[in-house]
Amino acid sequence: MNTADPGPGAAGSRPAEYRAARLQERLAAGPYAELALRIEFRGDAVLVRAVAGSPACRSYLLDAVAEEFTGLRVHTDIALADTGVPDHPEAVQ
């Protein structure tokens, strides 16, 4: 990144990198203690991935992401944790 291109979200606000760090701190301190959110910058878009423990947690994360990255192009992939029984064991050698 050079000085002519301040990066996504820099216009009139904090650079996106700092916004990402602030989001992660906010989520860690929040009701779901979420520490495993993956945030990546691809060109002018932000990619956010996580696995949420419940539908309520998922919508909380989506809201927080949308709020923190207002004005940026955001792609999210926040899956719900699957709590089914595995259909077969692994034979560990």
Partner: protein, 264 residues
């Protein structure tokens, strides 16, 4: 233990065919009262598919007593013994001992920290040694006991927990099968998928050293939500990351076979 007695116990023990131990394991379920019951339907089916359930830490979100109660209710009265270590989240509220007590008293969970437990399975003795473990990094790329007091304390803490695992595994020397249960990872293999920059916060090679010295048959850990399931220590011990987002089920299932006849 004689062969005859072992055979009799194999018949007497529930749900076991031959000399196989069926281990269910899950970490990072991060429960709180609003998620109560999410794992219960799957856990209630454990009796049919496993001989014991291992919980690899981060059972709660913030380590509060209320969250520990949710976890205890989730595993209380299951058909299989439940053995756990705590994770960093279970320490967050500053009362890990209370969290462990609630799990023991209300959930009948055996909570390990530098200690071990032995479960009879099909005439075998299956030993589990556990510690939360801590970070510090992996051989050649790790922190050392040097410089500021804070850095020394960080590395010393990690070393003392790994020493606890070593001592606990030594207690299991005579068991047919030995499992090392931690929250932090003993190897970098199972962290693949996590950013390289945070590896030192995800595990420590000191744990792997203890696993190898204690001749464990399997090492199970959690903590690395974006990691991968399979790894191996330098000594050849299989490692499994059972963090819930990695396992993508209520638990992972592993079948273990003892290499040769032994007894505790």
């Amino acid at each position: 233990m004689t062969g005859g007695a072992a055979a009799d116990r194999a018949v007497a023990d529930r749900g076991v065919s031959g000399r196989t131990a069926r281990i269910a394991a899950i970490g990072d379920i991060h429960l709180a009262p609003d998620a109560a019951g999410r794992y219960r339907p799957a856990f209630q089916r454990l009796g049919g598919v496993a001989d014991l359930l291992l919980l690899a830490g981060d059972l709660t979100r913030h380590g509060t007593v209320a969250e520990a109660r949710t976890v205890a209710a989730e595993v209380a009265g299951l058909d299989v013994p439940v053995i756990a270590v705590l994770g960093n989240h279970d320490h967050h509220d500053g009362c890990p001992d209370q969290v462990a007590d609630v799990l023991r008293e209300e959930g009948a969970v055996t909570v390990l920290e530098g200690s071990s437990a032995v479960v009879p399975v099909g005439g075998m003795q299956v030993g589990v040694a556990g510690t939360k473990g801590f970070g510090g990094g992996f051989a050649g790329r790790c922190g050392s006991e040097f410089g500021e007091d804070e850095m020394k304390a960080f590395v010393r803490y990690s070393r003392s927990l790994a020493d606890g695992l070593r001592t606990a595994l030594a207690e299991l020397a005579g068991c047919d099968l030995r499992i090392a249960l931690t929250h932090f990872s003993p190897v970098p293999d199972t962290l693949a998928g996590e950013p390289l920059e945070i590896y030192p916060f995800l595990g420590s090679y000191l744990l792997a050293e203890a696993v190898d010295e204690g001749r464990a048959d399997l090492a199970v850990h959690g903590h690395a939500h974006a990691g991968t399931e399979h790894g191996l220590t330098a000594g050849g011990v299989p490692v499994r990351n059972v963090a819930q987002p990695v396992v993508r089920h209520a638990f992972a299932l592993y079948e273990l076979h003892p290499a040769e006849a032994a007894g505790c």
